[in-house]
Structure formats: C-alpha cells, structure tokens
C-alpha cells in the first residue's frame, strides 16, 4: 500500500479547506471548530486519502474516536492507513 505521510495528509487537508476559501493554520493544535473543519470536510479528506493511495480505509476497525484538533485528524488518518 502506498501510504501517505502525515505531511502529505496535511497538504490534502489544506486543499479541502482552500476549496472553501478557508485556511489551514500552521499550528496543529488548532481546534477544528474554530477553523470550520466539519464532518463533511473530514469525509472529503478521507476520500482524498483513499484516492491518493488507491486503497479503501477501514473506518470500522478502530471506531471513530473524538477528533477535535488538526493534529487529531492527521494522527487518525495516519493510523487508519496502517489498519
């Protein structure tokens, strides 16, 4: 599997927000609520990761945990690729 690095996923997250004229802050501890990154955006990001890797992510395996910050999103998707 062609796994994406945390930095690559961050670039994709930046793209998701840019398409909506929003900005991804440099600080990964930024709250998703404050930057307007919502469930639709998270789903879009997951699909972009799938498209880049050519593999389906197994969302069922770990269960979706609480995701509140940019860092949470990136960590979660990095982990999900390894399931």
């Amino acid at each position: 599997m062609n796994e994406l690095s945390r930095a690559q996923i961050r670039d994709l997250m930046d793209q998701v927000l840019k398409n909506q004229d929003k900005e991804l802050p440099d600080d990964d501890s930024a709250q998703l609520r404050e930057i307007g990154f919502r469930s639709l955006d998270f789903s879009e990001l997951a699909l972009r990761v799938e498209d880049e890797t050519g593999e389906e992510l197994n969302f069922d395996a770990p269960g979706l945990r609480r995701i509140a910050t940019v860092s949470d999103v990136l960590d979660f998707l990095v982990e999900l690729q390894q399931q």
Binding site: K18, N19, L40, F42, S43, A46, L47, E56, L57, F59
Partner: protein, 420 residues
C-alpha cells in the same frame, strides 16, 4: 428433434412503409428489397448487423412469426440457455445465413408475438412480450421524415423507430452501426436525415465531440428518451437547432410510450397527473415513484405499473430524476437525489456530462461524488474547486459533491445510456 426453418405463408398484407427508403451500411435500398431470411418459429434472432435485424423485423411484420430480436453481445450464455429452455430456436443471422440452435423444450409458436429484452438497467435483462401493434407508438399521419436509427437492434427504442418506418409511408430510415456512432452526423448529413431520436447521453456525446458537424444535419425533429432529461441538454439542442421540434418521450419496455412533451422544458406539467383519457396512459405518483397505467404495456402486465423511476415536483413540472434504487444518496441522514445534483452540474456552462453517485464515507455513511466531462471549448476551464463552488451556490451543503473527477470522454453503453 428438428428445427423448423420454413416460413409460414404470409397471412398479412405488406406493411404500409414497405417502400420507404432504408440506408444500411451506407447503401440505400427499401424494406421490400431486404433479403427475407427463413427464420424458425419461434426464434430468438441474434442479428450480426443492423441490416440483418431489419430483415428479421420485416419478416415478422409480413409473416407474424414469433420473434425475439437482439444482438449476440446482449445475450450471454445463461440467457441463451434460458431462451432455449423457453422453447426458442436461437438463430445467429449473418451474411452467411441462419445458424440455428434447437430449443431444449420445443413448443408451438405464438403467432404475432414479439419479445423484447429489457435494457437491464433494473438488473438482469428480462423478456417482455409485445406485438407489433403494442410497440407502435406513432399512429397519426406524420410529415415525411428521414430518421436516424442509432439504437441497438431489438431494444424498445430501436423498435420505436423501426415500427414508425414500417407502418407509415414517407418515414425513411438511416441506420447507424455501432462502429459508425462517433461519425453519425456525417452519415446523417450525407443521407438527408432530418429527424433523430437518442438518449440524452447520445446527444451530449454528439455535442461534445463535434457540435459543428451536428449543426450540418438538417434536423427538424429531435427526440430524447431513455434517461432523465434535464433543462441543460434541451437548451443546448435548442441553441443549435432553433427551429426544430424538441420532443421528450418517456417510454419503457414494460409500459410502452407514456409521456410525450414537445415544449422544450424538462419534465411534464403537473396537471397531467391523474388525467384519464380513453386509450391513453394514466400517470400518477405514489410517494416518490412514477406509476403508469397504460394500454400499451407488455403482455402479462396489468393495472398500475410501478416504474421504479423517481419523480420530483418543481415549479409546476414533474421531473423524472433517476432510478429509485440508485438515485437516492443518504448523507448522514439527509436524502440527496443524484439526479438533482446531476442537473446542477450539467447546468454549468463548461460541463458536457456528469455522473453523480454516493461513496462510502466516515461519519456520514455516504458522501456525494461526481464524474464530469468538460466541454472542449470551455474557457476558462473550471477546476474541482470552481465546480464545488457552483454546486454549493445551488444545493444544500450535504448535497454538494466534494470529490469531482474530470473524465476525458463521455462513457456510453450499447444502449446509448450512461450509468445514471
């Protein structure tokens, strides 16, 4: 067991259109001049070319032998076994003659019976029984026309054009083989085609490939059917052919032709719902589904037929947006009509075609995604973000496709439909 190969004596007069002009493989002739194959009865004819299919149709019209007509590519091994089991002689018909396979359970033929294989958009193709009469939609006198026939032999849409030419004088036919489809405007212009019937995908594809070549075809009648018709494709055709009559026909193998609209607007007037006219279909809506009670439906069907097509009532019009089982996408509990989203995307001036589907997504369960083909002359060329913004201005947030893939060519199936 023997296979009957002799044709019964003709008990019918020649059809009224027997001297209409046909152009098959670029060669002009008439229905009367077609070779008359000696077909078994009942026969499932798998025609090698459009010409062989027309010959089988004419043979049925004059002799009434029981006939199922298709092409070899639409009949797989399982369907072939099913047909043999149902008492048909399966006959491959080509330039080298008729090659029959004997039925496993022979039976007497049902005179006058015509069978259709449905397009399979509802799953596995199934047989629907008709007659030449129930397949004939146009009965009133028509102006002389030269029609294009781009459909696969034996489909409901193919029979619509073929029965018109067979049963009315002055209705000529130019047949396009599958390998000529990309260049049909040149063939049509060369042979004076002034009327053409096709799916919206067929028209979009033609506009996309070469709208200048299309404009050289002197079309006076443009007909669309077989798929949801949105306002964008009607407007694009109106722009190229301002004086032509634009018709949308809702028809299917099961219910026959049921709705015909000529006003150039998508959908049909809401006032038509529930209208009862002797000899005409009655159209109703149950929930989100179109229901048709028709005098022209297939054998064995009676009463209201649930079509499986989803409708929406917007601005006094009833729009058919797609199949109920595939049109609805559930995004986190909010229902999205793929057809409505498709309509928004194809309403973008740079989008020639769009397919909208649901894709498995975390948190929401499904998410709306789309494939699009851009018009060759699009300027500026919109990127994914621009198309997302276009949709976001016109749709609720959950219905906006976030993943939009740009394809280089409009996909089309043998039925001239795309996967919508």
């Amino acid at each position: 067991m023997t296979v009957a190969t002799s044709r019964p004596a003709s008990a019918r007069p020649e059809p009224a259109g027997v001297d209409n002009r046909l152009v098959v493989g670029g060669t002009p002739l008439t229905w009367r001049a077609l070779p008359t194959p000696a077909l078994p009865d009942p026969a499932a004819v798998l025609a090698h070319t459009a010409g062989h299919a027309l010959a089988a149709a004419r043979q049925h019209a004059t002799h009434g032998t029981e006939l199922l007509l298709s092409t070899a590519s639409r009949v797989d091994a399982a369907m072939r076994a099913e047909l043999l089991d149902a008492g048909f002689t399966v006959a491959l018909v080509g330039d080298d003659g008729v090659h029959p396979s004997a039925p496993t359970r022979p039976r007497a033929a049902e005179p006058g019976r015509l069978w259709l294989l449905t397009s399979g958009s509802t799953g596995r193709p199934k047989r629907v029984g008709h007659t030449l009469d129930t397949l004939t939609t146009v009965r009133g006198d028509q102006p002389d026309r030269t029609w294009l026939c781009p459909y696969a032999p034996g489909t409901y849409a193919w029979w619509q054009v073929v029965t018109l030419s067979l049963t009315q004088s002055g209705q000529h036919l130019v047949v396009v083989e599958p390998d000529e489809l990309d260049d049909w405007p040149a063939v049509a212009a060369a042979h004076g085609v002034d009327a053409a019937s096709g799916t919206p995908t067929f028209w979009r594809r033609t506009l996309y490939r070469d709208s200048a070549a299309l404009a050289r075809v002197p079309l006076r009648q443009i007909t669309l059917g077989g798929e949801p018709v949105d306002q964008a494709i009607l407007d694009q055709l109106r722009e190229v052919f301002p004086a032509a009559r634009l018709s949308w026909i809702y028809a299917s193998s099961e219910v026959g032709a049921s709705i015909v609209v000529h006003d150039g607007r998508a959908g049909f007037p809401v006032e038509w719902l529930g209208r009862k006219t002797p000899g005409r279909p009655t159209i109703t809506v149950h929930g989100d589904e179109l229901v048709v009670t028709s005098p022209y439906h297939g054998a064995g069907l009676a009463g209201p037929i649930h079509t499986g097509d989803r409708v929406q009532l917007i601005d006094g019009r009833v729009l058919i947006t797609g199949r109920l089982d595939s049109d609805e996408i559930n995004v986190g509990g909010s229902k999205v009509s793929a057809g409505v989203v498709r309509g928004v995307l194809t309403g973008h001036p740079a989008v020639a075609w769009a397919r909208v589907t649901g894709r498995r997504a975390p948190v929401l369960g499904a998410m709306v995604v789309a494939d699009v083909v851009l018009t060759p002359t699009a300027a500026p060329v919109p990127d994914e973000a621009a198309l997302v913004r276009w949709c976001a201005e016109r749709l609720p947030e959950y219905a906006v496709p976030r993943r939009i893939r740009v394809l280089t060519e409009i996909p089309v199936k043998e039925t001239l439909k795309s996967d919508v």
